[in-house]
Symmetry: C2
Subunit: 385 residues, 2 copies
């Protein structure tokens, strides 16, 4: 096991009708900015629950955060923050809203000249407004971690800071019942790939981390498809298991003390940036190709993944790996997401442009060994065609 | 899954040579009281590492915390706290030292008349001195949870408060190499039973919690005996896996959203109180008896335990349960701890006295259904003879 530090102070309130608890989590005298997306929370009752919970608070609202939140949109929140003296942000939505709130929180107290530098130059965040979250879409884990991704002119740029980690997050699985099939699929696939990116590297004999990751993968494989099937799609236990898996998949725990490989995310980001493909669908396309291209370096963990997650006990290691990759692709297909670039109309001719973007973004040494060069990324894109 | 709130803000520094990090975690101007046990930390180098790390701090020391820390001992620390204006406690040791520090921290700022009321009358703790931990014995999970058990006149009394949760804990598996076999055994068994007490109840379809618990159980079963064997007892990876398992077993995570059954602990406490038997050894004696006596109510989870933890796939459910209990007892025996009262010279004649104590301590409705009455506890003691 590698040395690590782990610290996740986000308080989680999980379960039905927990949204009311936000009243006790946000200081009474705070001036709250409620941040949300396109208004779906007004259809599904979440907005009303938040409004009721904030009856004793002074609050304002800022809506219109889009999927892959845009820098320009987020900067628009600064005016109301200054004008009203906002000192607490409540993000109500999925990962994009939470990521957006994190950037808004950091930009509001940024002391440099241009908050864009937080993303473009990775200037350190030294303070941020406190954030609370009401999560409506289980997927990114952003509700209890320190990361955020913001998009500007087709560039997806991440930043991280402990100052933007939410102080609390309410996870009510019931609110996920109103999600579209596409949102559920994307969320399950995102959480699944997050887990694999902290698992499918090389062994450092971190038995707890491995087994926790395997537990999350198995849970998502079992519960994900059920959340799409007519007979079980209203089952709250299934939604609860998916929601808790997604949070645990990227709250820092399973990645503590083990190597990580975020190449699937980075190579996938360029597909979203260039073609606007849903984030999770870039992952379901790129991950199988990464498994195939990095098969040798990931051999030991691929076999473990085959045996423990897919229960493949027969045949040679080679066969187990083949089968595990096949089953992973079949799982993605069952979740209704693509596994090949051809399914989203990306062709060989597009690859040069994607590689250029990877280079431009400094993504020239990806993977747990830093050996996924631009040439290897090209091979991965080609394998995914 | 049941509704839950989860909050664990303890910062963990895990790995070799991490003790030096305490310097950055304790405020520079704090007046620190270093609290430890019988002096083993002076033999194994931990004391020196702590002294080096605190070179720039003002600190004092208080030693002599015994296993099952005694109220009278802990109260002796109050004099030095008042006299020197101590405002930070650093517990260096195992669960008893950490539990002791928690009570010292709460008693120091207790505003009632007699700190004993925190234990005897469960008076709420409203403030406490901040605590940091350098853990030397993986077992109780006390380094990142809110619980503490203090002993007075043969009574083991627990209290809980978020105010006594350690702010940070350093877990260096290397320092566990100097532990005795008995300490290692006790620690592994304690963590194993903690995990089972949050797992072996009835199913609420909490798949993540179940799989995390199963992962910890499997890890302890695999790694525990290796930490005792000459060929592998110096292996730091094994020690690391045990150490991280023990913390995760009782940091609140696996017990969130699922029923719990702490009857083994409560029934076992009376054996420590009356006969001074090591805490973990009371658990290894009582747990198998609880499994046998509560077999019907725990049937579904016992079968799952058999299949997933012990990989028993053949035969009827009855056979699987029989075999799982046998294998659990065999695991305890492999760890060198007793599984019967006769091994520790407790007989039928002692049971009346134990039941009296349970009654006196209000332990009349134990278990996940509250149906372990004094009569059932009697049956459990008898089954354990």
């Amino acid at each position: 096991m590698l040395n690590f530090s782990f610290h996740n102070p986000t308080k989680i309130h999980f379960g039905e009708n927990q949204i009311q608890l936000i009243a006790g989590e946000i200081p009474t005298h705070a001036k709250v900015l409620v941040i949300y997306g396109g208004g779906s929370i007004k259809q599904n009752g979440v907005y009303d629950q938040v409004v009721n919970a904030l009856a004793e608070h002074t609050w304002f609202e800022f809506s219109g955060i889009e999927p892959n939140p845009k820098y320009a949109t987020l900067m628009k929140a600064q005016a109301i923050i200054q004008q009203e003296g906002i000192d607490y942000l409540l993000a109500v939505g999925g990962g994009s809203v939470v990521d957006g709130a994190k950037f808004i929180a950091a930009a509001a107290l940024y002391e440099g000249e241009d908050p864009w530098d937080i993303l473009a130059k990775q200037h350190p965040v030294k303070q941020a407004l406190p954030i609370g979250v009401v999560l409506t879409l289980p997927a990114t884990g952003s509700e209890s971690n320190i990361g955020s991704v913001v998009t500007r002119d087709g560039h997806k740029l991440p930043f991280q800071s402990p100052f933007v980690r939410p102080q609390f997050a309410v996870l009510d699985p019931k609110v996920t019942l109103s999600l579209s099939e596409r949102q559920i699929s994307n969320g399950v696939v995102d959480a699944f790939v997050h887990t694999l990116e902290q698992y499918l590297t090389y062994s450092v004999n971190g038995k707890v981390q491995d087994r926790f990751a395997e537990g999350l993968l198995q849970t998502l494989i079992e519960e994900g498809p059920k959340a799409l099937q007519p007979a079980t799609k209203e089952d709250l236990d299934i939604r609860a298991n998916i929601m808790w898996s997604a949070t645990m998949a990227l709250n820092g725990l399973i990645g503590s003390g083990v190597p990580q490989d975020w190449s699937t995310h980075m190579i996938g980001h360029e597909l979203t940036g260039r073609f606007g493909i849903d984030h999770a669908r870039t992952l379901s396309i790129i991950l199988p190709a990464v498994m195939k291209v990095k098969r040798e370096q990931k051999r030991e963990k691929l076999v473990q993944f085959a045996e423990r997650v897919w229960h493949l006990s027969e045949g040679s290691d080679e066969l187990k790996i083949d089968k595990a990759i096949e089953l992973t692709e079949a799982f993605f297909q069952r979740m209704g997401v693509p596994t090949r670039l051809s399914e989203v109309d990306v062709t060989q001719e597009d690859i040069d442009g994607l590689i250029e973007k990877l280079e431009q973004h400094g993504m020239t040494q990806l993977g747990e060994h830093g050996d996924i060069t631009l040439d290897v990324s090209r091979t991965i894109y080609e394998k995914a065609l």
